[in-house]
C-alpha cells in the first residue's frame, strides 16, 4: 500500500503532518509503516516494516508502552489505520490514563479506530499446566476483521511468557504471535521488559530478537543525576537504518526522537516556511549595526561572550526591543533571574520592555536548568518558540544547557537547535559566560563559537586605574565587519559605542581617552602657535634684509657713477699723454718713427715757424 496522506491536526500544534513515508529516503522496495514519531521515521528510513513484527524492548520506565501506543494512535488518527492494543502487564485503563496528558484524545479514537484488550492476568488465576495464546489470537482475529484493523500492539508480552514453564514453550508462543501478525496482514509491535543492557546476552529473548524483523531498544540512563533516554535500532531486516544511538525525550505530546542526518536534515521537523523579508535586522545599538555592516543577518546565530557584568544581557535586551519595534515577536529565555528582574534591569538603561511583555509581543521565559537534561530543555525551548511564534530569540546564557549534561551531548543539542532555528527563520542570540578573559578559551570549552555565524566578545579593559567595557567582533560570517575594539557605554540614555580612539597603536578608553584627547588638543594648539611665531620672525628678518639690500643698491648706483668718471679720466689722461709725447718729440726734432742718416739735432732752429703753432699760446 502506498503512502497515506491525512490532514489531521498536528501534534503539539506543529501544523500539518504528512503521514507518508516516500520522501524519507526509503530504500524503495520495502513497504514501511510510519510511526508518526518525529525523528523515528527518519532514523528507520520510513517507519516500521509493514505486515511484520517489530520488537521493542527496554528496562522499566524506558518508554516502550508509550512508543507503541503513540504509533498506534498516530496511525489511527492520521493514517486512517485502526489498531488494537493488547496489554499483558498493565490494565488497559491504566495505560490510557497514563497517556491522557499527551492530548491524543484516546476516548474519541476508541469509538471506531482503537480497541484496547485487557489481557493482564488476574493475580488470583492459578497456573495449572501448559497453555497457549490461541484463544486470544482467535478472539483478536474476529476483532481485526470487524474493525479492519491494520496495526496491533502486544504490550508487556514478557509477563505472559514468564508464566510458561520453559523456553521451548516461550518460543512456540512468540512464533505463534509472529505468524499470526503476518497472516493477518498487520503491522505489529511487541514490547517486552528487559533488564540486561545487551539483549543477546539474555537467552530468553534471543529468539524474540532473532525472529522479529525489526528490533528497537530503549534505554533510560542516569548521568550525574540527570535522566537521559535513547533509542537504538538493533536490527532491521531488509532495510538500511541509522545505526547510532539516538536520544529522545518524552515531551508534552509524546515521544520525540532527536535524529539528525549528517546532511543536516532535522530530527525536530518543523512545518513553518522560512521567511526572510529583510536580509539584516538591527542589533538594537545603532553603532553596532554600522560595525556589522547593517546588523545581524536574519535567521543567523549570534554568540555574545564575556565575563559576568559585561553587558551581555543588556545587548540581548536591546535586540529583542528592536525586534518588537519592528512589529516582530520575540522570546527571551533566561536562566539567570525572573522576567521582572530582567525588565527592571533593562529599564535603567532605557530599554523599555514592559509594554512589549504586556502586549504579548515579547515573552520572557525563566528556566531552571539544574536537573533537566539538555534534551529536555531544548524541547521546552522549541515548544515555547513555536507557541510564541517568535522570530527573534535570546538564550541567556546558552551555557546553562550544558550544566546538566556532559559537554558532547550538550554541544550536539545546541548544534541541532541552531540548525532548527535557521530552518525556522528564527534569529538566535545566545550569551555565554566565560571563565577566562581569553575569548579563544570559549572555543575549546563548549565549542559553540564555531557553530555560530557571528561572535561578539565583551570584555573589561583595565588601564590607568579604571575598568571600561569593550566590545569587539571576533567573527561574522558572510559580512564584512569592523575589526576595531570599541568602548561600550551604558548609561541611562541607553547603550552606545564610543568613537574609536587610538593612540600609539593602542585603543584608549574612559578617562585615559579623555586625558589623551585633551593632551592631543593642547599639543596641536602649541604647534600652531609655534608655527605662527616662526613665521613672524622670518618675516621680520626678510624685511631687514630687504632694507639693507635697498641701501646697498643705492650705494651701488653712486659707485658706478664714480667708476664711470674714473674711467673717463683715465682715458683722457692716456690721450693727453700720447699727444704730449708727440709734442716733445717735435720739439726735439725727432721724427715720429725711426731716425734716418743722423741728422744733427741743430736743425730744429731752422723751423720754428712750423712749431709755433704747437708751442701754442
Amino acid at each position: 500500500m502506498g503512502s497515506v496522506r491525512s490532514t489531521g491536526k498536528g501534534l503539539g500544534g506543529r501544523g500539518q503532518w504528512e503521514f507518508s513515508a516516500p520522501n524519507l529516503a526509503n530504500s524503495g522496495e520495502m513497504d514501511k509503516a510510519p510511526t508518526g514519531i518525529a525523528g523515528l521515521d527518519e532514523a528507520t528510513r520510513g517507519g516500521l516494516p509493514r505486515g511484520r513484527t517489530t520488537l521493542v524492548f527496554g528496562g522499566p520506565g524506558a518508554g516502550k508502552t508509550i512508543l507503541a501506543l503513540q504509533t498506534l494512535v498516530n496511525a489511527a488518527r492520521f493514517g486512517d489505520e485502526p489498531g488494537i492494543f493488547v496489554t499483558f502487564e498493565e490494565q488497559s485503563r491504566q495505560v490510557v490514563a497514563n497517556a491522557s496528558s499527551f492530548g491524543w484524545n484516546i476516548p474519541e479514537l476508541e469509538k471506531r479506530r482503537l480497541f484496547f484488550l485487557d489481557a493482564s492476568l488476574d493475580p488470583g488465576v492459578v497456573r495449572a499446566g501448559q497453555f497457549d495464546l490461541q484463544g486470544v489470537l482467535a478472539a483478536l482475529s474476529a476483532k481485526v476483521k470487524e474493525m479492519k484493523a491494520r496495526r496491533v500492539v502486544f504490550d508487556g508480552l514478557d509477563v505472559l511468557l514468564t508464566l510458561l514453564s520453559d523456553p521451548h514453550a516461550e518460543r512456540t508462543e512468540l512464533y505463534r504471535i509472529h505468524e499470526w501478525i503476518a497472516r493477518s496482514h498487520l503491522t505489529g509491535i511487541v514490547t517486552a521488559k528487559m533488564v540486561s543492557s545487551d539483549p543477546f546476552a539474555q537467552a530468553h529473548y534471543e529468539f524474540a530478537a532473532y525472529m522479529a524483523d525489526c528490533a528497537l531498544r530503549l534505554v533510560r540512563s542516569h548521568k550525574d543525576g540527570v535522566s537521559e533516554r535513547d533509542v537504538s535500532i538493533l536490527k532491521y531486516r531488509g532495510s538500511s537504518f541509522s545505526e547510532n544511538k539516538v536520544p529522545f525525550v518524552i515531551g508534552p505530546a509524546g515521544l520525540e526522537v532527536a535524529y539528525q542526518q549528517l546532511s543536516g536534515e532535522l530530527g525536530l521537523r518543523p512545518s513553518r516556511p522560512t521567511r526572510s523579508p529583510n536580509r539584516r535586522i538591527s542589533t538594537g545599538v545603532e553603532r553596532l549595526d554600522t560595525m556589522l555592516n547593517g546588523g545581524y543577518f536574519r535567521a543567523a546565530s549570534v554568540l555574545l561572550t564575556g565575563l559576568p557584568g559585561t553587558a551581555k544581557s543588556s545587548l540581548s535586551g536591546a535586540f529583542v526591543k528592536a525586534a518588537c519595534r519592528r512589529g516582530e515577536r520575540a522570546l527571551y529565555v533566561t536562566f539567570d533571574g525572573t522576567g521582572d528582574e530582567i525588565v527592571r534591569n533593562l529599564t535603567s538603561i532605557k530599554i523599555m520592555l514592559r509594554s512589549s511583555v504586556e502586549s504579548g509581543q515579547l515573552r520572557i521565559l525563566s528556566g531552571t536548568s539544574l536537573s533537566d537534561s539538555a534534551e529536555v530543555q531544548l524541547m521546552r525551548i522549541t515548544s515555547a518558540i513555536l507557541k510564541q511564534r517568535a522570530t527573534c530569540v535570546v538564550i541567556d546564557p546558552i551555557s546553562a544547557l550544558a550544566r546538566a549534561s556532559d559537554p558532547s551531548t550538550a554541544l550536539g543539542v545546541v548544534s541541532r537547535f541552531i540548525h532548527w532555528s535557521k530552518a525556522n527563520g528564527v534569529t538566535l542570540l545566545c550569551t555565554s559566560l566565560l571563565t577566562s578573559t581569553d575569548p579563544h578559551a570559549e572555543a575549546s570549552g563548549l565549542g559553540i563559537s564555531t557553530l555560530c555565524d557571528t561572535w561578539i566578545h565583551l570584555a573589561y579593559v583595565q588601564k590607568g586605574g579604571e575598568r571600561n567595557r569593550s566590545l569587539s567582533i571576533v567573527k561574522s560570517r558572510g559580512t564584512g565587519h569592523s575589526n576595531q575594539v570599541r568602548e561600550l557605554m551604558l548609561s541611562n540614555e541607553g547603550i552606545t559605542l564610543a568613537d574609536v580612539y587610538k593612540a600609539d597603536g593602542e585603543v584608549l578608553m574612559g578617562t585615559m581617552r579623555w586625558e589623551h584627547e585633551i593632551g592631543q588638543k593642547e599639543d596641536a594648539q602649541r604647534r600652531v602657535s609655534e608655527a605662527r611665531i616662526r613665521r613672524i620672525e622670518i618675516e621680520r628678518e626678510y624685511e631687514q634684509i630687504r632694507a639693507r639690500a635697498a641701501l646697498l643698491h643705492s650705494e651701488l648706483g653712486l659707485k658706478s657713477v664714480e667708476l664711470g668718471a674714473a674711467k673717463e679720466a683715465e682715458q683722457s689722461r692716456v690721450t693727453s699723454e700720447k699727444s704730449r709725447e708727440a709734442e716733445r718729440r717735435q720739439r726735439r726734432f725727432a721724427d715720429f718713427g725711426e731716425p734716418r742718416g743722423g741728422r744733427p739735432p741743430t736743425a730744429a732752429i731752422a723751423r720754428p715757424k712750423r712749431r709755433g703753432r704747437e708751442l701754442g699760446t
Partner: protein
C-alpha cells in the same frame, strides 16, 4: 461433554479450549479425571471452543487456552485456572478436591508435571 445435571451440582465448570489442539485435548481429558474425584461423581461442565465463538471468549476475558473456570452453584465465577490441568493433584488441591480419588481408568496423561492418578485403595 455434558454430564447429567443433578438437583444441586456441587461443581460447575466451564472449559475454554481452542479447537482440538494438544493442550485442549489434554485439558478435556484431565478435567474428566478431575471430575472423577468429585464425591458423587457429577459435575456441570460446559466446553466452549474459542475458535468457533471468539466474541464470547473476548467478553469473558479469556486470553489463553485452555482456561478452566470454576463456577459456584448459581453461575458466578469462583476461580480460574489456566493450563491443560496437567498437574492433577495440584489442581485438585486448589479447587478443594481430594488429591486423589477413584479416577476413571485409561486417561490421557501428559504434560511435564502430569502424574498418574493412584487408585483409591493404595491411598
Amino acid at each position: 461433554m455434558k454430564s447429567p445435571v443433578s438437583a444441586s451440582p456441587r461443581y460447575a465448570f466451564r472449559l475454554y479450549v481452542a479447537g482440538e489442539s494438544p493442550h485442549s485435548l489434554r485439558a478435556i481429558a484431565n478435567l474428566r479425571a478431575l471430575c472423577g474425584r468429585i464425591p458423587g461423581g457429577v459435575a456441570d461442565v460446559e466446553i466452549v471452543d474459542v475458535l468457533r465463538d471468539p466474541p464470547r471468549a473476548l467478553k469473558a476475558g479469556i486470553l489463553v487456552t485452555p482456561t478452566l473456570v470454576r463456577l459456584s452453584p448459581g453461575g458466578g465465577e469462583v476461580q480460574r485456572l489456566i493450563g491443560d490441568l496437567g498437574d492433577l493433584s495440584a489442581v485438585a488441591a486448589s479447587i478443594g478436591l481430594p488429591e486423589s480419588g477413584p479416577g476413571l481408568p485409561t486417561e490421557l496423561r501428559s504434560g511435564p508435571r502430569g502424574k498418574p492418578a493412584k487408585p483409591m485403595d493404595t491411598e
